[in-house]
């Protein structure tokens, strides 16, 4: 039952309880039910807090570690809250130039997402409205996404060596666009499918060209889907590790690869790992937080109708 459903039912039950005088209900019976309800509510709250703590603790630990001094990181018993918010771990990242890997990730994720969204949305529209390739082409396209990246990364590496595209922005962008497109096409096809065709037909009769129909009807109608798909695509590229590990060297190293450099044979640079991980989390956090309204609606749209 949904949260709302539970509340609604509880409310109905509460309203349905008649006054003891009117119904002749004995006092103990009357007192038991609200008490049981309170206990159930308290247990539920406790469970919710526990789950939240379990899920949030690693993030909390990572976040405070980024602000700890070296002594605090290795202190035993652990330091649960640092004495002062120490920014030196971040300063080191900027001083040593490590932050550039976050910039690289940002450039790759933003440009690949933008290109994949434009190409993918047009492709999805063509598949859905012009029935290009029938149902088979659409299924074939999404099937490309089911390949484990590690299976094809080495053939791609050989190809990229031959093309001279290893460790280049354009090489990585082409790769990420190619890998994001099936997902974008599949998702956008579902969202476009949900737009009543009459809206487009009506616009056509009103004098809109196909481009105007796209701008004035399809994109506004699919707005939530566009945002949700873009966020997912961005996160996919942002979090990629396998391709970046194999296909980058020094010029376009991404932050996910950079973090692994802090795990050494002799020791691990926990302060850098934590600070870099925080930097790496921020763009995704801001992207999701800013677009949350569309994101949640887009996800549920896909879930119900897609």
């Amino acid at each position: 039952m949904t949260e709302a459903g539970v509340h609604a039912r509880t409310g109905t039950e509460a309203a349905a309880v008649p006054s003891p005088a009117a119904a002749g209900i004995e006092r103990p019976a009357r007192r038991l039910r609200p008490r049981r309800r309170t206990v159930v509510l308290a247990l539920r709250l406790l469970a919710a807090i526990l789950v939240t703590v379990v899920f949030l603790f690693p993030i909390y630990w990572l976040a405070i570690m980024a602000f700890k001094t070296a002594d605090e990181i290795f202190a035993y018993p652990p330091v649960w809250w640092p004495g002062s918010l120490n920014l030196s771990n971040f300063a080191v990242l900027f001083r040593d130039g490590d932050w550039e890997t976050v910039r690289n990730s940002l450039v790759l994720a933003t440009s690949s997402t933008a290109i994949a969204m434009v190409l993918g949305t047009f492709a999805a529209y063509a598949l859905e409205r012009f029935r290009i390739g029938g149902e088979n082409l659409a299924v074939w396209i999404i099937s490309q996404r089911m390949l484990p990246p590690v299976v094809i990364v080495f053939p791609i590496f050989l190809l990229y060596v031959a093309l001279g595209w290893v460790d280049t922005f354009h090489g990585m962008i082409v790769l990420y666009v190619a890998f994001s497109l099936p997902y974008v096409i599949w998702m956008m096809r579902g969202y476009i499918h949900d737009i009543p065709i009459e809206l487009e037909e009506s616009a056509e009769l009103d004098g809109c060209s196909r481009w105007q129909i796209l701008w004035r009807v399809v994109f506004p109608m699919a707005r939530t889907g566009l945002f949700a798909t873009a966020v997912f695509t961005f996160v996919f590229v942002w979090n990629d590790f396998v391709f970046a590990l194999v296909l980058t060297r020094t010029e376009v190293v991404t932050y996910t690869v950079q973090v692994t450099h802090y795990f050494g044979g002799q020791s691990n640079f926990w302060a850098k790992i934590a600070a870099m991980s925080m930097l790496g989390t921020l763009p995704v956090f801001f992207a999701v937080a800013t677009l949350q309204r569309y994101f949640v609606r887009g996800l549920s749209m896909g879930a119900v109708k897609g």
Binding site: E198, E201, D206, R216, R223
Partner: protein
């Protein structure tokens, strides 16, 4: 002048023909209603006229201009869809203004036309609202508003009232009729509801299996149907079809042997054999004290089913082996199971050849 002239129009979906050679001419200013059961091709015909479907053969002329190969926006038509087709992210004003903005009309002209349409349709207080804040009837008004601001030559309506509840449908029906009178434009309206067709139309076009079965004024189709299909489709409750035999010289004989006398000459030219008597429920009355007039057959029947509708009641009974219904004043209705006498007005009946389903 004809506003719409269709010649030998054909449209198929793959191997399935939807419109199989339709010829139709609608004079300027007429309210034409395409009516027929689901799958008869009426919506396809409308969509082909609009240009939303490409014709496989034949021609379409709109306002004297061949429009068969024109794009929808160049056909000078406006269309109202069944599901309203409103843009949820635009206000009522912007929804109504959408077509005008697409055609890049000056802002002052857009405001003038939207204001006029809003006034006609009572949309004034709703202009800043969004479609989700409107009731079904208000949404349909906005959809109509979108069409009328366009000032098109031909207005197409694809079952625009079918999503509304019965009361609202009656109300909107009246408004549409009034709107047609005010605008004086040519309306083409698709519905499967024969009541809508009867009340709205100057001309009803009955479609069946992708062909025009019959067309004419509502009264013409009601009183002079040419086929069993039209006779059954037009009129509510439906016409009764009672099997009988033509008994030479004596009139008609029902399967239970009872004979129905006809006026002299009524059977002239009709060969002996099986016929169907098409008799509307309103042409079967409860017998009074007076003896029946010539051409009226009086029979005794037993009431099987009584459906009161308020002032009137539908009373069903078996006649000639089939369920037959009459429409009576509520106070005249018999009790269930009661034997009562009915007068069949055979002068108003149509006789149908059961082999061809055509009216004889």
């Amino acid at each position: 002048m004809a506003d719409l002239a269709i010649r030998a129009l054909k449209k198929s979906y793959g191997a399935t023909p939807a419109v199989r050679g339709v010829d139709l001419t609608i004079p300027a200013g007429e309210f034409a209603v395409l009516v027929g059961p689901s799958g008869c091709g009426k919506s396809t015909l409308l969509r082909t006229i609009a240009g939303l479907e490409e014709a496989d053969g034949g021609s379409i002329e709109i306002g004297g201009r061949v429009a068969t190969d024109l794009r929808p926006k160049d056909r000078d038509i406006a269309m109202v869809f069944q599901n309203y087709a409103l843009y949820p992210y635009l206000t009522v004003f912007e929804n109504v203004a959408f077509g005008l903005r697409a055609r890049k009309l000056p802002d002052a002209e857009v405001r003038k036309r939207v204001g006029r349409a809003a006034e006609m349709l009572g949309l004034g207080p709703l202009l800043e609202r969004y479609p989700r804040q409107l009731s079904g009837g208000q949404r349909q008004r906005v959809a109509i508003g979108r069409a009328i601001v366009r000032d098109a030559r031909l207005f197409l309506f694809d079952e625009p009232l079918s999503n509304l509840d019965a009361q609202l449908r009656d109300e909107m029906r009246g408004e549409l009729k009034r709107l047609h009178q005010e605008l004086g434009k040519t309306f083409m309206y698709v519905t499967h509801d024969q009541t809508e067709a009867m009340t709205l139309a100057d001309r009803i076009v009955v479609l069946k299996d992708g062909l025009i079965e019959q067309q004419g004024s509502p009264l013409d189709l009601y009183e002079r149907p040419r086929t069993r299909f039209v006779a059954g489709f037009i009129g509510s409750p439906q016409m009764n079809f009672i099997p009988a035999e033509v008994a030479p010289g004596r009139g008609l004989r029902l399967s239970d042997g009872r004979e129905l006398p006809l006026k002299a000459g009524r059977l002239a030219g009709i060969a002996p054999g099986a016929v169907l008597i098409g008799l509307r429920p309103t042409h079967i009355a409860r017998a009074g004290a007076q003896p029946p007039a010539t051409g009226v057959a009086r029979l005794s029947v037993r009431a099987d089913l009584i459906q009161p509708t308020g002032a009137r009641a539908y009373v069903s009974f078996r006649l000639g082996g089939v369920e037959t219904t009459t429409e009576l004043e509520a106070r005249e209705a018999p009790r269930l199971g009661e034997e009562f006498a009915v007068d069949l007005d055979l002068d108003r009946a149509v006789l149908i050849d059961p082999q061809t389903d055509r009216v004889i």
